[in-house]
């Protein structure tokens, strides 16, 4: 870390190697598009490299890095560059049938152990994420994928824990409605 802070590119490369999967996962969940997620991951590491001299170590490096990638992705989403990705959500959900996992998740009956591909459901949820607001999507990802507490999410996103709770609730509700809408439609 100290070497990286002194501008040692190779030392920073080790940090990239160690954390790139985590950073990429966040970016992929946020933008829903592999190529864009790779570009944003690269951007996040570049920003981290340029700012690492200011990293004081009072937070974990992973927390600091997560905050950078979250902001890079939020900037990207707020610019509206994600609109093309929303189309892929329509395509992915369009083929759902009644017994699919999407149907099970959105119906009012218990989810039985049907053995239907959870992969399909996962793809549908990832795709549906792209129809949420950037803020709702971010809190859902930080909670569900990164497993952060409300307090940690609030620090990452610079907002109150009440806001986190509210965004999570509305995000989940919207996600469920979207999945149901496409399953029934």
């Amino acid at each position: 870390m100290l070497k990286a802070q002194k501008g040692d590119t190779e030392a920073f490369g080790i940090l990239v190697e160690r954390h790139r999967q985590q950073v990429y996962q966040v970016a992929l969940a946020m933008v829903g598009h592999a190529e864009t997620a790779r570009d944003l991951t690269q951007d996040a590491f570049l920003r981290a490299y340029e700012a690492i001299a200011r990293f004081r170590g009072d937070a974990k490096f992973t927390t600091w890095l997560r905050r950078i990638v979250t902001n890079v992705c939020l900037d990207h989403l707020r610019k509206g560059e994600h609109r093309m990705v929303v189309a892929s959500y329509e395509e992915k959900l369009g083929s759902g049938d009644e017994d699919s996992e999407v149907g099970i998740l959105t119906s009012h009956r218990e989810a039985p152990d049907t053995g239907v591909s959870r992969k399909e459901l996962g793809a549908a949820i990832v795709a549906a994420l792209s129809a949420l607001t950037p803020e709702q999507r971010t809190v859902l990802i930080l909670r569900e994928i990164e497993g952060l507490s409300y307090e940690e999410i609030a620090k990452t996103m610079d907002c109150a824990t009440g806001t986190v709770m509210s965004r999570l609730f509305y995000g989940r509700r919207r996600l469920q409605a979207l999945l149901r809408e496409h399953h029934e439609g």
Binding site: T9, R20, E35, R38, Q42, A51, I52, Y150, M165, F169
Partner: protein, 169 residues
């Protein structure tokens, strides 16, 4: 004991945000107890809770399928040129304050105006200065060089309103 349907619906709606927080283990005290009591008698909210949890698990599983191939495009150092972190610290607020840029632009404009004002004016040599002499008829003298000048004498001839005669002296 179960509540009437309409009352239960209203309670479900009122407790919905808390239910989401409960699913995340982020609900405490009386709010938590109220949700637990409601869940004991509300089948709809129990299913909603189960769906929240399934959604989270499925999303985590979907994201855990990232492979080494997915990461192959993320390289270090990147293709674009790097700047040393010591020399170029990323500062997102650097361009958010427009005053230094505006002040620079105003200073530049003032400098250009000042240069324009202070520039020496060179008068073309062939412009004549006309003087009007104090005489009965209007006489105008156009000075030339040291040896020559032109006099224009305007007088009334009677049949014309005015006549002009001129010639070198």
């Amino acid at each position: 004991m179960t509540q009437p349907q309409s009352m239960s619906d209203a309670l479900c709606e009122a407790l919905a945000p808390q239910l989401s927080a409960y699913a995340d283990n982020e609900l405490w005290g009386s709010d938590r107890e109220q949700v637990i009591r409601h869940l004991a008698e509300c089948d709809v909210c129990r299913r909603t809770l189960a769906r929240y949890r399934t959604m989270g698990e499925t999303l985590r599983e979907a994201m855990n399928t990232v492979t080494a191939r997915d990461l192959s495009g993320i390289t270090w150092p990147p293709h674009r040129a790097l700047t040393s972190p010591r020399r170029a610290i990323y500062n997102p607020t650097r361009w958010r304050d427009p005053w230094p840029v505006l002040a620079g632009a105003v200073a530049l404009i003032m400098l250009l105006i000042g240069l324009q004002i202070l520039r020496p004016v060179t008068r073309p040599s062939n412009i004549a200065e006309i003087e009007q002499l104090d005489a009965a008829d209007p006489v105008m003298v156009i000075p030339g060089d040291e040896e020559r000048m032109t006099i224009i004498w305007v007088f009334d001839t009677g049949d014309r309103s005015e006549s002009v005669d001129s010639g070198p002296t």
